[in-house]
Structure formats: structure tokens, C-alpha cells
């Protein structure tokens, strides 16, 4: 079987700044891919390139066997890609359910308003903010807004879901709930790429991981391989031996 998503040699320049440097990976259907890296490593830029916010300077993005390198965001949505934003973007003056109905109406399925409403209700139940349906989106707190972002994305019934730091700013119990939700989404057969800084959580939930640093892919593998990769430790701590030294000190 071919992969759902192929990223081939993607580079992205902003003027003289290289945000992505020759990133290549394939994503088989049904997996959760964790995307980690220090701040400014280019993770969100990679999402934006896949999503069509701006095109790659070099390289190719292939989604469901179609070349989507130049596709617009709304074309990607119709093809079955949905995402959440790191900085939440609720449609403030619309109610929670209207926000989700937008996702259902204009996403892959392109439901009519009448058919979209039950879909939206179901998704709101699934992510656990059904009791807020009739409130304005602006009245939600951060954790609820993150769930709203997720609900909007899911209402489109996408093939691939890009989650951009859905755990950031949540407390321990909220993180546990959200991780559970992410697993449940995967069990529905939706493929996921998640950017995350909460290591414990992302290591736990990912099938495979990619590490970016200064726009380049420095490691790829399952969570255990990543955890012990000296280049990853160096990227995060600055010195590959530092982790070992710290461990030794702690033991002494």
C-alpha cells in the first residue's frame, strides 16, 4: 500500500532564512507521527507547507497520490486534510456549534447545513464540550478552545489530521484526557501528525517520531530510538554528554 502523505526533499526559505532544509518522510495510513524539535526548528512551518498556507521553495508534497505542493489551504481541506492551530483561531462571534458546523460544511464531506448539524453535535460530544454548544466561541477557556479547534477539524471527517501543540498550556489531568482523545481519533482510522513539546505525552502516543532542528531532520524512528539518540539530546541540551553527566551526578 502506498503512503497517505509523502514529503520529498522539502525546503522553505523566507528571504535569506532557511526554515526547512531538505525534509523527507513518508506517512503510512493509520499512524500517529510525533514531530518534535526545539523552538524555531521549523515544525509549524512544515505544517504550513503541507497545509498549503505557503508553498515549498523546493521539493514536493504528495497527499493521496496527488501532487499538492502548490495547493491552497481550502483545496487541501476538500481533499481530506484538517488541522488545529498552535495559537487557537476560534470564530469568536459564532457559537461553538456553528464553529464546528463550518468545519463539517466546508471540509472533505461538504455537508449541507441540515446534515452538518448532527455531525457537529456528535463531534462535540466526542471531544467533550457538548455542554458548551450554544455559547459564543469567545467565551471558552484555553483548554476548551483547543478542543473546539479539534472538533472543527474532526467534523470535516479528514483522512489526515495535523495537531499543532494541542497539549500546550493544559494541566496534567487535561493532558491525560487530551492524549486519550488523540488515541481515540487514531482508532477511528484517522492518520495524525502531532507537534508537541510535552515529551512524556508525545513519546507515549506516537508510533513514530521525527526530530527537526534548525529546519533539518536530525532523527527519525520509534520513540525509544529517539529517546536515546545522541543528536536529539544534543539538540535539546546542547551537549550530547550533558544528559549522561546529569544522570551520573543525580546517582552519586
Amino acid at each position: 500500500m502506498t503512503s497517505l502523505l509523502q514529503v520529498k526533499g522539502v525546503s522553505k526559505f523566507f528571504g535569506g532564512l532557511q526554515a526547512l532544509n531538505d525534509v523527507t518522510f513518508e506517512l503510512p495510513e493509520g499512524q500517529i507521527l510525533g514531530l518534535i524539535g526545539p523552538n524555531g526548528a521549523g515544525k509549524t512551518t512544515l505544517f504550513n507547507v503541507i497545509n498549503g498556507v505557503y508553498p515549498a521553495t523546493e521539493g514536493q508534497v504528495i497527499f493521496k497520490d496527488q501532487d499538492v505542493t502548490e495547493a491552497k489551504t481550502y483545496e487541501m481541506a476538500k481533499l481530506g486534510l484538517a488541522r488545529t492551530h498552535q495559537i487557537v483561531k476560534p470564530l469568536n462571534e459564532l457559537t461553538v456549534i456553528e464553529n464546528v458546523v463550518v468545519g463539517a460544511c466546508f471540509g472533505r464531506q461538504g455537508y449541507s447545513l441540515r446534515k452538518a448539524t448532527p455531525v457537529a453535535e456528535e463531534v462535540l460530544n466526542f471531544v467533550g464540550i457538548a455542554d458548551r454548544s450554544d455559547q459564543l466561541a469567545s467565551s471558552l477557556n484555553v483548554a476548551q478552545k483547543k478542543r473546539l479547534e479539534m472538533a472543527r477539524a474532526l467534523a470535516a471527517q479528514p483522512h489526515l489530521l495535523l495537531l499543532d501543540e494541542v497539549l500546550a498550556g493544559l494541566n496534567q489531568s487535561e493532558i491525560a484526557e487530551m492524549v486519550e482523545t488523540v488515541r481515540k481519533i487514531r482508532d477511528k482510522g484517522i492518520t495524525i501528525i502531532m507537534i508537541e513539546h510535552v515529551m512524556e505525552a508525545v513519546m507515549n502516543v506516537s508510533d513514530r517520531m521525527i526530530v527537526l532542528n534548525f529546519g533539518a531532520q536530525i532523527a527519525e524512528g520509534n520513540p525509544d530510538e529517539i529517546r536515546n539518540n545522541p543528536r536529539v539530546i544534543e539538540a535539546y541540551l546542547g551537549d550530547p554528554k550533558l544528559a549522561q553527566k546529569l544522570m551520573q551526578k543525580a546517582q552519586e
Binding site: 497545509n51 498556507v53 491552497k72 489551504t73 481550502y74 481541506a77 476538500k78 484538517a82 488541522r83 492551530h85 483561531k89 476560534p90 470564530l91 469568536n92 462571534e93 459564532l94 456553528e98 458546523v101 463550518v102 468545519g103 460544511c105 466546508f106 471540509g107 472533505r108 461538504g110 449541507s112 447545513l113 452538518a116 472543527r152 470535516a156
Partner: protein, 323 residues
């Protein structure tokens, strides 16, 4: 039909406008009819602007360009080519729509203040263009042949008929506004208003959606223009493209409540009522436009949602009726 509740929001606007249209019919007073015509015209124009301003969130300072442009084209065919007023209105509406389509492709990619500035520029450019087009009479404009009225049983009858057509156009404008508000297309517009980037990520094809909203908001003003110049008996560039009328329309929409069907109606009533008082008052008659400016400022500062928006916030239970 379970669906009738969705259309509850249209009830109040329709009652207001129909009741108001019948008022001069009952009194039989011609000066009442004239002021009713002015207010209905304001309602139709403000409701059309609301599709762009209220639903899509794009501020147009030059919306009157469609009224002038459509009016000019339509009146030309009525006057010079002996078309009926119906055909003239149709061609006026269509040409305004086509103009909006072309403009939309060009300037709707601009956002915020840049779009607003572009709309002013277009209105002024159009005024200058018609000033120099001999086909449409240049700076003198066109004067309607009185013989045109004959087909409608003389001037008096034609003017009476114009009032009923105006009432009909206003009702059509409200129905369009309501249908847009409650449709999937309208939901796409609201999403664009709230956050265009997020809307696109969710699959709203923003460039096309915005363009159609612009076209839809231009057609009725084009038809109103033809009717008004037909009733007025002449058209000149500075009467067809008055920038201050565009701004007055903005005040009406913001005052009544942008993004609601009822808002522009209330706004048009309130503003025209106030204007009627100001232009006849000794003290205010010269500073009438400054008062509108101050009013716009106060609305933006204190009740940005307008009267209807404010009521909706205060009394959520009324939401179904106040749309």
C-alpha cells in the same frame, strides 16, 4: 414543516417594511409617500451593503458606486433606447453585478483599511469617468424625456408606480439578506468575517465566496439607482456617485446592527429620521454630516454590535426573532 422556525427572523423585518409601505397608501398623502420612498431606498441600500459589511466583514466606503453605475446604464436604455423601466432595472442590476464581479476579482484580496481605501478610489474614478463620457452626457448627465412616462399613464402615475416598485425591491433585498444569513453560503461569509485564514483552512473557498457576496450586494443598489433616476427625471455624475451617501449607509448599518437582517432597517429609520430633523433645524443644518461622523465614532466606541446586536447580547432568548 419543522423548518419554519428558521425563517422566524424574517418575520419582524417583513412586518416593519410592509406596514411602512402601506402607510402612504392609507393616508394617500404624496409628501408622506416621498419620505417613505427615501426611507425604503435607504433600507434597500443598507441591507445590500450589510451582506458585504455585516456578513463578510469587508468595509466598503464606496458602495454607492453600484447605485450610480447601474443607474446610469439602466437609465440610458430607458431613455435612449426606449426600453421599459423593468428591462432598464434588470440591465442596471446586472451591470452593477458584473462591475462588482470584476472589481471583486481585483480588490477583494486586499484586507481591512486597504480594501476600504480602494473602494473610495473606485467611486471617485467612476465619477470622473462618467464626467467625461459623452455617451452619457458628460458632466451634464442625462435628462429623461417626459414622453417616457407616457407608457405608464403620465408622470403622476409613473411616480406612484415607482413607489410600489421601490417597496418591492426593498422586500426582495430583505429576502436576499435573510436567505444569505441562514444559508451555508452565509455561514462561509460569517467564517470569513471572523477569521479569513481559519475559514480557508476549514475549506471555505474565500476568494470565490467573497466575490459572490460582493456581486450579491451590488445588484439591488444597481436596480435602485435606475428606479431613482427614472423617478427623479435626470442623472448627473455628482448625484450618482455621492461619497457621503456611502458613509451614511455605513452609519445606518452600524447603528442598527451589522450582520443582522433587522439591523439595517432600524438603522435606516433612525438615521433618516434624525437627518430629517437635522437638515430642517437652524442649528444643525450646516453640520449635519459632522453629526453623522460623531455618531459613527460613538457607535464604534460604545455599541460596536449596533442596536440589534446589543439587544441580542442582552436578551439571548430573543435570538431567534432578532436576526
Amino acid at each position: 414543516m419543522k423548518n419554519w422556525r428558521n425563517h422566524l427572523g424574517l418575520l419582524l423585518p417583513m412586518l416593519v417594511v410592509i406596514g411602512f409601505s402601506l402607510w402612504p397608501v392609507i393616508t394617500g398623502n404624496i409628501s408622506t409617500r416621498e419620505s417613505a420612498f427615501t426611507i425604503l431606498k435607504a433600507i434597500a441600500l443598507a441591507s445590500s451593503l450589510n451582506i458585504l459589511l455585516g456578513y463578510t466583514g469587508y468595509v466598503s466606503f464606496g458602495h454607492i458606486v453600484f447605485y450610480g453605475f447601474g443607474g446610469y446604464i439602466g437609465l440610458y436604455f430607458v431613455n435612449q433606447q426606449d426600453w421599459s423601466i423593468w428591462a432598464g432595472m434588470l440591465v442596471g442590476g446586472i451591470s452593477a453585478g458584473i462591475l462588482a464581479f470584476l472589481l471583486g476579482k481585483a480588490i477583494l484580496r486586499l484586507r481591512g483599511a486597504y480594501f476600504a481605501l480602494a473602494t473610495i478610489g473606485i467611486n471617485e474614478a467612476m465619477k470622473a469617468l462618467f464626467n467625461n463620457l459623452d455617451l452619457f452626457g458628460g458632466p451634464i448627465g442625462m435628462v429623461l424625456n417626459f414622453s417616457v412616462y407616457k407608457a405608464y399613464g403620465g408622470a403622476a402615475k409613473a411616480l406612484g408606480m415607482a413607489f410600489y416598485i421601490m417597496a418591492g425591491l426593498t422586500i426582495i433585498a430583505l429576502i436576499i439578506s435573510h436567505l444569505v444569513r441562514t444559508s451555508k453560503f452565509g455561514l462561509g461569509l460569517l467564517a470569513i468575517r471572523e477569521d479569513e485564514d481559519a475559514a480557508e483552512v476549514m475549506g471555505v473557498v474565500a476568494p470565490d465566496t467573497k466575490t459572490w457576496a460582493y456581486v450579491l450586494s451590488a445588484i439591488i443598489p444597481g436596480m435602485v439607482g435606475v428606479l431613482f433616476f427614472f423617478k427623479n427625471g435626470n442623472v448627473e455624475p455628482h448625484v450618482a456617485f455621492p461619497l457621503h451617501s456611502s458613509i451614511e449607509l455605513l452609519v445606518m448599518v452600524m447603528l442598527g446592527g451589522q450582520g443582522t437582517v433587522l439591523g439595517p432597517i432600524l438603522g435606516a429609520f433612525a438615521y433618516q429620521g434624525m437627518r430629517g430633523y437635522f437638515v430642517t433645524s437652524e442649528f444643525f443644518k450646516d453640520i449635519q454630516l459632522s453629526v453623522s461622523g460623531v455618531l459613527l465614532l460613538l457607535i464604534v466606541l460604545f455599541i460596536p454590535a449596533g442596536a440589534v446586536g446589543w439587544l441580542r447580547q442582552k436578551f439571548p432568548t430573543l435570538r431567534r426573532v432578532l436576526q
